[in-house]
């Protein structure tokens, strides 16, 4: 078995028009910038993007939006230090937004990965975000029914990845990566270094390779935060 892919372009080659794509990361931390940029190069249209945020500056998800490739964003917090790409598209009516409480977003993704079609949570009870959703009482408290959230593809960023797809993460860059890797039909991981099976101690594997389909090496990945401070734009 060898899940490694030689190029970023090859790694994203299966993502076509209308796909739903989970993009991991929290702001720039853990964001697979090089995979996103490879997706921009490929240029599919009508994408639904699932991320905690909605892009910042003119790189990564913000650049996907600026290239008119995104129809809908599902996120918890579309604000950022420089949200101009999202704001312009959203206020012009070109971009649908589904705001999901952050814990509900994470749990909907986790539930999809675990084969749980719906669950109940206290979060959002009595608020506008619970409108139209079934409510039930358990042990005297009211809860809102939420459904799983699946995707066709997940783009994730790891630190080490072996040829079986086992992944590690660096510090708080872990965030949405492990759960998104579980929730998509096809999970594509960029990692700083590809290693051989056994090079990652089994105790240190965070995402087991069963959740990962393709691994591509990006030896010195860019940090979105650094790119934004430099005023970078892509392409």
């Amino acid at each position: 078995m060898d899940k490694t892919t030689a190029s970023l372009a090859e790694a994203v080659s299966g993502i076509g028009d209308g796909a739903t794509v989970m993009i991991a990361g929290f702001g720039g931390s853990g964001a697979p910038i090089e995979l996103i940029h490879a997706l921009i190069d490929k240029g599919p249209k009508g994408l639904t993007i699932i991320n905690n945020n909605a892009g910042n500056g003119h790189v990564g998800i913000a650049s996907l939006i600026e290239h008119g490739m995104v129809d809908k964003i599902i996120c918890s917090f579309p604000r950022s230090s420089d949200p101009v790409a999202f704001n312009e598209a959203y206020l012009a009516g070109k971009l649908q937004l589904e705001v999901v409480p952050q814990g509900t977003l994470a749990e909907r993704i986790r539930a999809a990965g675990a084969g749980i079609p719906a669950f109940y949570t206290a979060t959002s009870y009595g608020t506008d975000l619970a409108k139209g959703k079934p409510v039930a009482e358990f042990d005297g408290k009211s809860y809102v029914q939420e459904r799983w959230l699946k995707a066709d593809f997940a783009l994730v960023k790891g630190e080490l990845g072996d040829t079986y797809g086992n992944l590690t993460y660096r510090m708080a860059a872990r965030n949405f990566n492990p759960i998104m890797a579980m929730a998509a039909d096809v999970t594509i991981a960029q990692v700083s270094r590809i290693v051989q099976p056994g090079d990652i101690e089994p105790e240190n594997v965070i995402t087991p390779g069963i959740f990962v389909d393709h691994v591509v090496e990006v030896a010195e990945p860019k940090q979105e935060e650094v790119l934004i401070r430099e005023g970078a734009s892509y392409p």
Binding site: P101, G103, D128, A172, Q223
Partner: protein, 229 residues
């Protein structure tokens, strides 16, 4: 009212100091983005709180020196942080299991409006061109063991933020139990605002006049005295 609130009210740092005095040793605490983050600076000596951030860190410490930032190590406000000994990393679903499973002792957030029944509005003004952004607020307010608010007592226009009923979109229902404002400390129980502490410079009647719901008193009202910060 002839009294100028601006001349007597507490600064945000002072409100944060007051809120910090109620955080017990050993508490697991989440602080909202922005002003509530200041609470961490005023931990009383001899007490140790462990701070949680939604993006998957328990036990973070101070901001790093400029130039020492590692952008894989940030908090929910996307600011660079450092780690204290004993810190841990975890993924987002575990992070919110800590929140939604009722494991956090205290959550301290900002507010647009707080109602006397404990309802909180702090995520969307509901305006036509406003962009809604909720983050982790709805999770925190429904499931932390104690939910407190730090806030100015009135809006920039002078309107009460403590109200009889929220008119803005709710973040959570019946969730807030204590408000640390720029003028007072107010508890919420059984559908009432209960005044616990107020600045000595403001009378009860003047405080009531800038509060949108009835202030009740249960026992004595202490002076709210906060050192300069």
């Amino acid at each position: 009212m002839t009294l100028s609130l601006d001349s007597i009210k507490l600064t945000n740092a002072q409100i944060a100091w007051r809120a910090a005095q109620d955080i017990e040793d050993g508490a697991y605490v989440n602080l909202g983005i922005g002003f509530p983050e200041m609470v961490a600076k005023y931990q009383p000596a001899g007490r140790e709180a462990i701070f949680h951030t939604e993006n998957g860190v328990l036990g973070f410490g101070k901001a790093p020196a400029e130039g020492d930032e590692d952008w894989d190590l940030i908090n929910a406000g996307k600011k660079a942080i450092t780690l204290n000994p004993g810190a841990s990393f975890f993924h987002h679903a575990d992070s919110f299991a800590m929140v939604r499973g009722g494991h956090l002792d205290v959550a301290i957030l900002g507010a647009f409006q707080i109602a006397q029944n404990g309802d909180l509005a702090n995520w969307s003004t509901g305006g036509a061109n406003s962009i809604p952004a909720v983050g982790g607020a709805m999770d925190l307010v429904q499931s932390a063991k104690r939910v407190a608010v730090v806030t100015d007592h009135v809006t920039k226009k002078g309107e009460p933020k403590l109200v009889d009923r929220c008119t803005m979109p709710l973040t959570g229902v019946g969730c807030v139990t204590r408000v640390y404002s720029s003028l007072a400390v107010v508890d919420i129980a059984d559908g009432h605002f209960i005044l616990r502490e107020k600045l000595p410079a403001i009378s009860f009647d003047d405080l009531q006049s800038v509060t949108g719901g009835e202030l009740t008193v249960d026992g004595s009202v202490a002076d709210l005295i906060v050192p300069e910060q």
